[in-house]
Symmetry: D2
Subunit: 394 residues, 4 copies
C-alpha cells in the first residue's frame, strides 16, 4: 500500500509565543537570500501554519486602539520560505512553474476568531478613507464555515477561507526591477502621474527599509541583515511572484501556478482570510486570521516559458495563473450596485475605474445601512461580497 | 379566470425596413421631450422588439469594412420611450421607482445572428486599441442558447442574453447636470485629469450634436428637433437613469429598479447582447444582436427617496439597483489571470485599476491564444468571460 | 458565409384547429409503420411544434370536470415522426445512435399557459390517489421563465421547461418484445407480482387498442389502421426507445442519445412541461403545456453497439443516455423530507422504495400545507421540486 | 467580549485503542436507557469524534478478507448519547425539537483514509449482490477535499463529507412500536409482502439480540445489559428518530431538526462518510471513515407538534427535517442513465422502483466501465454520483 497521506507539518506556530520566538522564524519581506526554513517533496501533502498578517498585534477586544497605533511596517508575517524538490531531490529551478494545490485549510485550533478593520486616515487609511477616516475594529468568531460578530448583531454567514498571500522568492534580478520601478514611482511624485484621490499623504510606494523588518533565519542587526533589509521588497503589492493576490475563491481545491525565480522556489505564504469580498473596501479587506494550509506541490519543468508570457520588457515580467477550487457557498440572490465615473461633488472623470468602483461601493454600503447597521458596520467586505462583480487591484 | 398573459407587443420591428422606416420611430439620445411611442400598464406583460445597437449597419459577411467606417454618432438605436401607468391609469411620477422585470428575451425570429468587433483605432478604438488597432469583425450564429462562429472554428458556447441598455428619461434638470459635467470634462481637457492611456485622441466626452441624431417622433430638421438634438445626451455612458449598464447577468428573471424623473417614466431599451464578459475588451464588448424583451413593470410610489440615496450634490445623483435573475449557465472550472499596475514598458503606476485590468486581460488573451487562435479571435469577450472577476466601467 | 441558422419549422401547430385537423397529423402510439410526416438533415436547426399531451382537451377555466372525464386512451399526442438523414441524404439506420440536441424551447405564442391536475381515482388515479382521490385542476400562466396560478395565490416561480416525451420508432421486433412482456404482466395478474398499493383497479398494462388511437398519416378505419392500432404501443411507459422519460432538467442545451431501430430513426416528441419535480406526485406530474422545440440532430453511425449495452436478453434491450443542459434555476436553500418504509397504518414493508417515497412526499406536502395552502394545492410537483432530494430509504 | 468559540471536545477517540477501550464507551443500538456519556448546552460549539461504522475492523490494505468475514452484528459504532440542556440547565424534553447544526467536520488527524466495499453475498450482500456477489474492498486516501485510491488509478475527486447517522434516543413507547412492526415483518415472512429480489436469504429485519451489542456505559453481561440488549433497536434502518439517514449533502452548514423522545434528547452520531452518491449501490454505499463533527444545538420547545406531523397511527410517527448546507462541489456536466421496470430476463414488473433503479445503476456502471475500469471499480457510489439524477421510472 501507499503511505497514508496524513499531512506533515513543516511550519508550526505556537500561539503562546511571540512572532520572533517561533521555532521557525517568520519573515515579512521578499528577498532571494532569506534562507528556506524547511523543505518539501513534490507529491507530498504538507501543512503550513501561519500567524495573522499582523503577527497577533490585534486583540480580541472592543478597542480599536490596536488598529489605530499598529506599526504597518511589520506586515505581512509570512511562513516559509519552503524549498521544493522533486522526488529525486532535485530542486525547482528558475524557469520552472511551481503548481501548488490547496487541499485543505482552516483556523489554528484554539484560535478560531478573526477581525476586520478600518485603518485610521493617519495610519494607513484605505480606499474609502475620506468617508471613514477613523480606526474601527470588528471581531468575528468562527463556528466551522460560519462567522458571527459581537459587533454586528444578527449577522452570521458562511465564509470562503483562503490565503491572502502565496508567492515564490524573487531572483536578485527581479528584485532589482521591483526596487527600481517603485523608487521611480516615489521619485517622480504625484505630479507625474494620475493622481488617485485615495492618496492622502500615503507614500506612493513603500521602499525597502530596516524598520519593522523580519528576515527569518537572518539574524537581526548583522551586516547581512542590514544589507538584505535595504534591498528586500515589501509584501503589500502583488507582483510577478504572486504575493498579495487576495483572490476570494482561492480556497480548498484551488491550484496556483507560480513562476520559479530561485533554486528551490522558496515558497512563502500567510495573511489567511476567513472570507473577503471582491475588493478591499476596509483597509484589511478581509476577515483576518491565523490559520493553516495543507498543500501539495508539483514542479512543471520549464513551465514558465511554456505557460506564461512576459508582459513587459524582460522575460521576468510574468504573472501566475490561478485555478479556482470547486467548492464555494451557493447563493441564489444577487444585487448589483452601479457606480459611474462622477465623484461626490458631481465632477465627471474620464473612464476612471477607481472613482466608479468607489461610487458602486458607497451605493452598496448605503443600501445595506438601511437595514439597521451603521455604515462602519457594513464596510466589512464580506457583506460587500454582494457587490460581487467588481474588482479593485493595484 | 384572469386573462392569459400572452405578451402584448408594444414596439415591433420589421427587419426588412430601415431604422427610420419602422412603424414606431427609434431614438438614440436621452431627453425628456422625446415623446413616448406607446403606453403600458403595471402588471401587464409586454413585448419590446429592438434593432441591434448599430441599427443594422453591420452585415453578416466576412468584411470588417462596415466596422471600420461605421458612423458612431448614430449609436445606440433604442426602442421606446414607453410611458408607464398604473392600473388606474395614473402615470409613474418623478420620485417613484420603476421596477422592470425581464420575463423573457431572445433574438428576433429570422435574425438569429450577431457580431462582435474590434473598432479601428481611427474610428472609436477601444480598451486595447494599442494592441489591436485594426477593425475586425466576428459573426456569430445562434442555435437557441448556443452560439458558434464561422470565424472561430471549434468554439460553441451557451450565452447569457441581456439588454445592454435600459433606462428612464432624464428630467431637464438632470439632463442639464449631465451636459454641464460632460462639457466641463471636455473643456478642462486631458491635462486637468488623470490621463488614461486609452484616450488616444478620443474625445473626453461626446457632447450633444445633431449629427446622427434620431429623436423618435420628433421630426428631423424641425426647430424642435434642432433644439432637442443640441441638448440630448448621448447613450454611451451609463448615468443616473440606468442606460448603458452592460451587466452580463441581466437576463431572464432579472429586475431593475430605475428612478423616475419624468411623468410616465419614459422607459427605453436596446443594445441587446447575446452574451458578454465582465468587461468591454473589444469595442463592442459583447455579441451584438437585434432581439426582443418581454417585460413587466411595477411602480413603487415614492421609492426613489426610500430606496436610493443621492451620491452627489443633488437629490438626482442616484443609481438604479439591479436584481439578477436565477438562471445562468453553470460552469465548474475557472481560471483567474492577474494584472498588476505596471505597464508594458515596466513602468509602475500608483493603484491604477485601468492598467491592472488591462494587464490581466492581456494575460488572459495570451493564454487563450496558445490554443490555436489568433489574439484577435480571443479578444471577444465571451471567451474572456473566463476572467470573470474583473470589471471595467466608466 | 454559412447560412444563418433560423430554425426551419417542420411541424407547425394551428391552435385554432382540432388535433385531427392539423396540417401534419399527430399520433399517440409507437409503431414502425406510422409514416414520417417530414424529414430533416443532420446539422440543421429545425422547429417542432406540439399540442399539450391531452391535445387541448383541458381548458383554461375553474372546473376540474375536464380532468374528471378526460379520455385517457388518447394520450399522448406526439408530433412527428421525423425522418432523419445525413447531409448526403442517407438515412439513420438501425444500430446508429441519434444525438438530438435541444437548442431552444418554449410555449407556443398565444398559448402561454398550462395546467397541473390530480386525476380522479376512478379515472387514472395517481401515486397518492388514496390521499387525494378527487379530480383537481390548477391552471398556470406563464410570464417568460415564471409561472403563477390564479388557483394558488402568492406563488410565482421560475420553471425548467422540457419535453416529457422524446423517442424513436421501435422496430417490429422490439415492438413485439414490448407487447409480449406487457401482455404477460397483464395476464399473470397482481398475484404473480409485488403488489404495488397504488394499483387500485388500474390496469397493470395498457395493451394495444383501437380506442382513442391516432396514427398520423394512416387513415382511420382502414384495414391498415386497424392492424397497426392493434399492435402499436401506448406512450405512457418509457421504454428502450426513450419515450416518456420526464427528466426535469432536459431543458435548453440538453442532448439525448437515442438508439435507432428503423430506417430514418422516426423521431417523435411531445408532452411539453413548463416544469416538474423529481417525481410524479400528481397524476400529471408536471405543468402541462403546448410548445415548441428547436432541435438539431447528428447521426452516430454504429453508435448503438459502441455506446449502449443491452441490459436484457436481446441486443435491443438498451436505454438512451441523456446529457443535461448547462442552464437551470439556481436555488440556494433545500429542505429534505425523509420517508421510511412504514405505511400510514404503522406497518413495516421490506425495503419498499415506493412506500418510503410516498411517505417522504406526504411529509413534504404536510410541511408545505402549513403555509396557508390546502394539501391539494401543494401536491403540484413544482413546489415539490423544492424537496428535490427526497430520499427513498427503507 | 464573548468567549471565543473554540469547540469543546465532548467525545474524543484514541485511534490506538480498541472500540471498547475508549474513554467514553461507544454504543451500537438505540435504547432510552443507554446513559448519556456527556452533556452540552444549547448555543455551545462542541466536537464529537467517532470511529468508522465498523469500529476499525476494516484495514488499510489490499485484502477484502476483512470485509468478507466482518461481523455485521456490531454496526454501527456511535458516539454519545449526548444530553442536551438549555442555558439554564433545563434539558430537552419529549415533544421538543432538537436543532443540530453541523458547523464543521472532517477526518480524525492521523487517520485520513477510508474505504468502500462490496459485501459478500453470503455476508450482508447489497443492492446489486446478484451482479457483484464477491467481497471487494477499495481503499481511499484523503488530501483535504480530495480522495484518491491505489485501487482505482487515475481517479481523484472532491468529496462532500457527512455523518451517515445522527439521531436521538427513542422513548420506550417508540421502541416498542419499532420492535413490534419489525417482528411482524419477520414473522409474516416473504410471502406476505412484495418480494424484493434483493432479499436472497437476508433477514427481513434484524431484531434485538445480544450478539455484537455495545451499550455504552451499561456493563456487558449484567442483567441490565441483557435486558436492554434484547430490547434495543439495530442501527441499520432510518426511523422516526433520524438515525441512518445517509443524505449525501448533509455536510458543513446543514441543520437537522430531530424530534425529542427522552429527557435530554440523547443525541448520538457516527458512520462518517467522506462522500456518497444518491443511493447505496455497493453495500457500504459511501467512503467510510472515522472523523469528527463540530456541532451546535438549539432546543425548540414544543417544536415536534408545531413542525412535524405524525404520519402514522400515533403522535410518535414523525420524521425529522433536514436543511442542507450551502457548500457543495460545483459540477457542470451531468449524464442521466435511465432504468425501466423490466428486469435482466426481459420480464416486466409493475411500477417497480427498485427494479428500475437497479437497471439505471447497471446502465451507469456499464457506461463507466468503458473507460478502462472493471465493473467492481465503478460500483463505488462516489463515481456513481455523476449519475446523480438517476431516474426510477417504470
Amino acid at each position: 500500500m501507499m503511505t497514508p497521506p496524513t499531512p506533515r507539518t513543516v511550519v508550526s506556530i505556537d500561539l503562546k509565543k511571540k512572532t520572533w520566538e517561533q521555532q521557525l522564524p517568520l519573515h515579512n519581506r521578499w528577498h532571494p537570500e532569506i534562507p528556506a526554513v524547511t523543505e518539501v517533496k513534490t507529491g507530498e501533502l504538507f501543512r503550513v501554519e501561519m500567524v495573522d498578517f499582523t503577527g497577533g498585534a490585534i486583540k480580541d477586544d472592543n478597542s480599536a486602539n490596536d488598529i489605530k497605533f499598529f506599526d504597518l511596517s511589520t506586515v505581512h508575517y509570512l511562513s516559509g520560505p519552503i524549498r521544493v524538490v522533486d522526488t529525486e531531490g532535485k530542486p525547482a529551478n528558475p524557469g520552472d512553474l511551481l503548481a501548488v494545490e490547496i487541499c485543505n485549510l482552516g483556523p489554528l485550533p484554539g484560535d478560531e476568531w478573526g477581525f476586520t478593520a478600518i485603518f485610521d486616515r493617519d495610519n494607513g487609511g484605505g480606499f474609502l478613507t475620506d468617508h471613514f477616516p477613523h480606526a474601527t475594529k470588528i471581531v468575528w468568531y468562527f463556528e466551522g464555515i460560519y462567522a458571527y460578530s459581537p459587533h454586528i448583531p444578527g449577522v452570521r454567514f458562511p465564509g470562503l477561507t483562503h490565503p491572502g498571500i502565496i508567492g515564490t522568492a524573487p531572483s536578485m534580478e527581479l528584485l532589482n526591477i521591483w526596487n527600481q520601478r517603485e523608487a521611480k514611482l516615489q521619485e517622480d511624485g504625484p505630479e507625474s502621474l494620475k493622481l488617485c484621490e485615495v492618496l492622502h499623504g500615503r507614500p506612493l510606494a513603500n521602499l525597502p527599509s530596516t524598520k519593522g523588518c523580519f528576515l527569518g533565519k537572518i539574524k537581526e542587526g548583522t551586516p547581512e541583515w542590514n544589507k538584505i533589509a535595504m534591498e528586500a521588497a515589501r509584501t503589500i503589492p502583488g507582483r510577478e511572484n504572486g504575493g498579495n493576490c487576495d483572490i476570494k475563491n482561492l480556497s480548498r481545491g484551488s491550484k496556483i501556478y507560480l513562476p520559479v525565480f530561485v533554486e528551490g522556489a522558496n515558497l512563502s505564504t500567510g495573511d489567511m482570510h476567513f472570507s473577503q469580498g471582491d475588493g478591499e473596501v476596509a483597509f484589511c479587506g478581509a476577515i483576518e486570521m491565523s490559520g493553516f494550509l495543507e498543500l501539495k506541490c508539483e514542479i512543471i519543468r520549464g513551465g514558465m516559458k511554456e505557460y506564461l508570457t512576459p508582459m513587459g520588457p524582460t522575460p521576468l515580467h510574468v504573472n501566475p495563473i490561478f485555478e479556482l477550487g470547486l467548492v464555494e457557498p451557493r447563493f441564489s440572490e444577487w444585487l448589483v450596485f452601479e457606480g459611474i465615473s462622477v465623484d461626490e461633488k458631481g465632477r465627471q472623470h474620464f473612464l476612471d475605474a477607481s472613482v466608479a468602483y468607489k461610487r458602486a461601493v458607497l451605493n452598496a454600503i448605503d443600501y445595506l445601512s438601511r437595514f439597521g447597521y451603521t455604515k462602519e458596520q457594513v464596510t466589512w467586505p464580506c457583506i460587500v461580497k454582494t457587490i460581487s462583480y467588481i474588482l479593485y487591484k493595484s
